[in-house]
Symmetry: C2
Subunit: 388 residues, 2 copies
């Protein structure tokens, strides 16, 4: 263990870029000052870009779960029939929220590690004609599955009039999220994942159709009332005290994202996913999710001949490298690596080399260096493609 040099590779919070930490240390400003208005104004274009929309994006001083609740309580009310696709722990959370507010919640349960299939959604919608809203988890953080949100939203629109809500907490910023051209009506995400900020902010982007539902919804809500946020945002203000320093950081993040360019960010995340998967395959260590729906932001590894918790604690003990464990029934069976946000292919080579050591230390019959080599080979291919 080497003093306080921790390497954080959980699927959020992620390491913060140094220039963002600096930006967050700027002197505090009044939240009703002209400077705050200007800051909000400077932030909006970059944020709209992330969500692929011309609409303003709402910013809440609250965590990702608050954003999930925001989606639910603004679009639906007690008694409404809703569908929640449950592909893991965060799908369950979405369903719990719906239950809490008295919605008639249909759960489309999917094996953890699999993605929802459009056919399953079609079947549910055909069976339950009154469904008003469908809640999807875009990236299921607990399993490393990226649900095919674009196709799923199309399916919903083809078979119903229901609203489509996407929980993009652990992927938006690292993968495409298009409000204006996809059939999703409302996206939410948090600040501490691919957006590379500390936790504490969440973002909501809503379509015209969503806004109609929000406006006519009489369900009680106060802090999470999107109408209040939208109204104040028109005047470049906020209904409640905003998390000022996180907004300083957000401005810097959006500058960094603009400099790298969204298409490059997305391809970097795909490359990190592919390198990670190639490495574990070369080591013959199974992965939880299949290739087709593997998330570019988080990978769940399912060791067969080793205890996942032992791998985690070995990584922590030898390298002070932190990965996440498995949720609920997957505890001890999987560990999850976050490769999102402020993370590069070089970081992937690093954690693969570390994982090899950890597996070897726990007695796994792996060949040191084989995982690294597989990841290096993919990286070299990608580099050559780029320079062509």
């Amino acid at each position: 263990m080497y003093f306080e040099k921790q390497v954080l590779r959980i699927p959020g919070p992620v390491p913060i870029p140094p220039s963002v930490n600096l930006a967050m240390s700027k002197p505090m400003i009044g939240h009703r000052s002209p400077e705050m208005k200007e800051l909000i104004n400077r932030i909006q274009p970059g944020l709209k870009n992330v969500f692929g929309t011309k609409e303003d994006v709402l910013i809440l001083a609250a965590s990702g779960t608050a954003a999930l609740e925001t989606a639910a309580v603004n679009l639906c009310q007690a008694g409404d029939e809703v569908l929640v696709a449950v592909t893991g722990a965060f799908g369950e959370r979405f369903a719990d929220i719906c239950d809490t507010f008295g919605f008639q919640t249909h759960r489309l349960e999917v094996n953890w590690g699999d993605a929802v299939e459009p056919g399953q959604v079609r079947d549910m919608l055909t069976k339950h004609r009154g469904i008003k809203a469908v809640f999807f988890t875009y990236c299921e953080t607990s399993t490393g599955v990226l649900n095919p949100i674009k196709e799923l939203a199309e399916t919903v629109k083809a078979h119903s009039d229901a609203l489509v809500i996407a929980d993009g907490v652990s992927c938006i910023g690292g993968v495409e999220a298009n409000l204006d051209h996809w059939d999703v009506d409302l996206y939410v995400t948090g600040s501490q994942k691919a957006m590379m900020l500390p936790p504490g902010l969440s973002f909501v982007a809503a379509s015209e159709k969503a806004w109609k539902a929000i406006e006519s919804n009489t369900a009680p809500r106060f802090y999470l009332d999107l109408k209040k946020y939208r109204k104040k945002l028109e005047d470049r203000s906020t209904p409640f005290t905003p998390a000022v320093s996180l907004l300083f950081g957000l401005e810097e993040i959006l500058k960094l994202m603009h400099t790298e360019g969204l298409p490059n960010i997305f391809s970097r995340h795909r490359l990190m996913r592919d390198m990670t998967r190639a490495a574990f395959k070369a080591l013959e260590i199974p992965l939880l999710a299949g290739d087709e729906h593997a998330s570019p932001t988080v990978t769940a590894v399912r060791p067969e001949h080793a205890d996942a918790e032992e791998i985690r604690s070995t990584l922590s003990k030898i390298f002070n490298l932190r990965v996440a464990g498995g949720p609920k029934h997957l505890k001890g069976k999987i560990f999850r690596i976050g490769h999102l946000g402020y993370c590069t292919p070089l970081d992937v080579l690093e954690y693969i080399a570390a994982a090899e050591v950890a597996f070897k230390q726990t007695g796994a019959a792996i060949e040191l260096g084989n995982g690294v080599r597989a990841a290096q080979e993919l990286l070299i291919q990608a580099t050559e493609k780029e320079t062509k």
Copy 2:
């Protein structure tokens, strides 16, 4: 290239631990305030420990070169006969300083990549009986050689009355430097290497014998006059304005070093050296320095079938990973990796994986993963030894 995430692996400046950056951001204090006295008082014990001495250690607001000059102008004066062991670019610098101040400088020139041998020093001292001071480079940053300073100092004492000066700029903090129990009379180092601070401070530790020479030396010096620093330090003050925020950082560095423990720091550096060397040997890429005198802080790699500058630029282009080039006649022939200060064995695995990719990209016939494996194997051995 992934935005501004640079990985700095030159032999100093090194990355700054985050808690040190935080400490350096503390509110400014007056340099003649009681708080400054208390700060200096808190710093001294840790600094004495680094130099293995009960004597106060002097702190200059100046770079390492100023500390070299300080050693020269405080111990010697025009006309004095001195010996400089030149094992690379920094030995040359020491000799240039001696020339500048009119010393009679004898150069003991050693092949760049080799260490000075005690026998060579003995021969020079036997030949030139009037030598008053011998200047050594402890770690020759330009070649990655650690000169055997303890043995060299013993040799000087066995064959003369000369003072022994050690330039420890690129190693002290990462390797042992003992003032009270070794025959070295004066050590100097800088802040930006194994001391993990930004550049801007240098440190001088002097023996009783050195102080006698300093006190009686009439050579003119003002800012670099050690007598002034010593006198003020007795009162926990400084003769000139100190670099206040760097001292805030130094206090934090010394806390980190205390927490890890000097013996652990030294063995970490040795392990990083051994991992690095094992990796390049496995890849059949030659190293400039031999095993016996390889520095725990910096390794010079001498590729046979690749241009060292091309490797450097490839590392920079693909990974934004920076290593140093070769100085003077070694330019294009070697590149140098700093593995010192805020650097861990995990960082070594990272740069080895990156170096393999860079060599492969430039057409070298290496086997990807082989260097990483050799480094991993050493790390596993060291980890097993530690837990036994």
